[in-house]
């Protein structure tokens, strides 16, 4: 009845994963090795390509703007992730508590997910426009501000603007993850806590948060990695890095070296630096993901 097993389960698994592995090797790892190799060459489309050792890295790291670029990258990334996290937890907590209308609210809240980041940048740029956009107008009408809000001439608010626009697009993902984590907690735990005299603040701090921390942590790390390297919103909302380059981040620097200055060697070095920096966040992510409960 059972067909004879010519190959063991392990060999079968190996055989079955070959197409995927070929794709992984040829399509992800080889380009990575290629870009690491490139970073050691002078490759600027003007002179012949020659081996240059660490010259590209020296050039990037000794760029007087580099510390500020790095700092802005972190402000943007942590700002956007922080806003996303707070909003998501708030949303998930509220979505879990309501019965009627929860499907409707959930659909409304996750809608931005389907919007390309580049378009979300354009839309928010228009909404934040000092004279033609609704945000400045509403702030003035409600009396919160006396003068128009010009996010493009103030470095702090232009950073705030791109953070809001970026977080807007990222909230749905983390909300869904958080909601799922909240809903996986058994109702009996809350009942027991209530019997013991815990109020809703106690329950939230001592039951909800600890028991859902791992999925939320993983979701937050994914969001952090994404914000760290994504420049779509920044690129479309504040072209060229904005006023006084206040939103010029490492991703912008990379794309400019590649697209504006056609200096592939330098672009490769920035790519490798970006990979290494992301990997710091990434290794925490990998650690949490592989850790057994």
């Amino acid at each position: 009845m059972r067909r004879t097993r010519q190959i063991s389960n392990a060999s079968y698994g190996m055989l079955l994963s070959i197409p995927g592995l070929v794709l992984l090797l040829a399509w992800v790892l080889l380009p990575l090795i290629y870009v690491i190799g490139l970073s050691f060459y002078r490759y600027d489309n003007m002179s012949p390509v020659v081996f240059a050792g660490f010259d590209n890295y020296k050039r990037v790291l000794s760029n007087p703007d580099f510390p500020r670029i790095l700092q802005r990258t972190f402000v943007f990334s942590f700002g956007s992730t922080g806003l996303t996290l707070v909003t998501s937890v708030l949303l998930a907590a509220c979505l879990g508590r309501i019965g009627k209308g929860s499907a409707l609210f959930r659909s409304l809240v996750v809608m931005p997910w389907a919007v390309p980041l580049i378009l979300s940048g354009f839309l928010w740029a228009w909404m934040f426009h000092p004279s033609f956009g609704p945000i400045s107008d509403l702030l003035m009408r409600s009396g919160i501000r006396k003068t128009a809000l010009n996010i493009y001439e103030d470095p702090i608010s232009s950073m705030l603007g791109v953070i809001i626009a970026d977080a807007w697009r990222r909230i749905p993902f983390l909300t869904i993850i958080t909601l799922a984590a909240f809903q996986a907690i058994l109702e009996e735990l809350y009942d027991a806590a209530r019997v013991d005299g815990a109020d809703s603040i106690d329950s939230f701090i001592h039951i909800t948060l600890p028991l859902s921390s791992r999925p939320i942590m993983i979701g937050t790390l994914i969001t952090l990695m994404f914000t760290f390297r994504s420049i779509d919103v920044i690129y479309s909302m504040t072209p060229g890095g904005g006023y006084t380059k206040s939103t010029y981040v490492i991703g912008t620097y990379l794309f400019d070296s590649l697209y504006e200055f056609l200096n592939f060697g330098v672009a490769a070095a920035i790519s490798v630096i970006l990979v290494l920096l992301t990997f710091i966040i990434g290794s925490v992510f990998i650690y949490y993901t592989l850790q057994k409960r």
Binding site: R2, N9, A10, S11, G13, M14, L16, P19, G20, L21, L23, L24, V28, P31, L32, Y34, L38, T87, L91, A93, L95, I98, F105, L108, V109, V110, M111, P112, W113, A114, P116, L117, I118, F122, L123, W126, M127, F132, P134, I176, I177, D199, S200, I201, P215, I218, G219, M225, R229, S230, G251, F255, A267, A268, S271, L274, T278, G282, F285, T289
Partner: protein, 282 residues
């Protein structure tokens, strides 16, 4: 203690979640509202200060113009072709790998799993350069194939990982039962596993599709012919040197969002299920 009591009163009030949700939902949908309202304004009206909220001279001209006289249908077609092709290739290749990693572990499979996880952390932005140069060497710049090949890289590791987590939740007994009944291991995949998991595999495909649909920088770099650009790059058509045609941009934005939003809302239930099972429970 008084502050806490007051806080509790607010938190426990049945209306509170509705108020919070109402406010945040308004924030989440406001760009959509602004986009739709602006698409029906005339160009001069989009440059009024203070801005109008409801279109004063309601016009369908912009929607007509962007569809019939700007290359929006071509952009959409390009996006659809590239994204569908890439998604199909990714999902077909990933299903077997993910299934093997989940149900038939072998020596080194954990290492491979870690490798997939690692590749998820590689910034796509950092891979633009090697892909650009590879495409240039292969003479593939300004072809759809270049974009498709990049899109495959973009979501491939994620899809494998999500699918793997998803197959982990599949009851092993069902697979064993099918094998006892005389089904081959490969037959089990097609006759038992895939039919049951179709919903979630579909949801993960939609996630991969959306990811591809939203990609901007690679096609921006690889494609310079208008007739091959996808919709995200096509949006730049309305950014002029002197003036940005905001009403047209918004109309184009509506066309860009309708396909992905439809896909998304249709598959929403499965996406949430597939994502939470695949991303978190392993």
């Amino acid at each position: 203690m008084k502050v806490r009591d007051l806080l509790l009163k607010v938190i426990d009030h049945p209306a509170t979640p509705y108020v919070v949700l109402g406010v945040i939902s308004l924030f989440m949908v406001s760009p959509f509202i602004w986009m739709v309202l602006s698409a029906f304004k005339t160009l001069p009206e989009t440059f009024m200060s203070p801005p109008t909220y409801f279109p004063k001279d309601f016009t369908l001209e912009t929607m007509r113009f962007t569809w019939f006289e700007a290359p929006i249908p071509t952009y959409l077609k390009n996006s659809l072709i590239a994204c569908l092709t890439a998604t199909v290739i990714i999902v077909v290749a990933s299903v077997f790998t993910a299934y093997a990693l989940s149900q038939y572990p072998y020596q080194g499979s954990n290492l491979i799993l870690g490798l997939f996880l690692f590749t998820r952390t590689i910034p796509p932005l950092a891979m633009l350069l090697p892909y650009y140069l590879i495409m240039r060497k292969l003479g593939l710049l300004n072809t759809r194939l270049a974009v498709i090949l990049y899109l495959i890289y973009l979501s491939y590791p994620l899809v494998v990982w999500l699918l793997k987590g998803f197959f982990d939740a599949f009851p092993r007994d069902l697979i064993d039962a099918a094998i006892v009944d005389g089904c081959t291991r490969t037959g089990t995949i097609f006759r038992v596993v895939l039919p049951i998991t179709a919903g979630s595999v579909g949801a993960i495909s939609v996630v991969a599709f959306l990811w591809a649909w939203n990609e901007f920088f690679a096609p921006y770099l690889f494609i310079h012919y208008d007739e091959l650009k996808p919709i995200t790059v096509g949006l730049y058509y309305f950014v002029g040197d002197e003036v940005t045609y905001w009403n047209r941009m918004c109309a184009a934005g509506i066309y860009a969002v309708v396909p992905s939003l439809t896909f998304f809302l249709l598959a929403q239930k499965y996406i949430i299920k597939g994502l939470t099972e695949g991303a978190l429970k392993y």
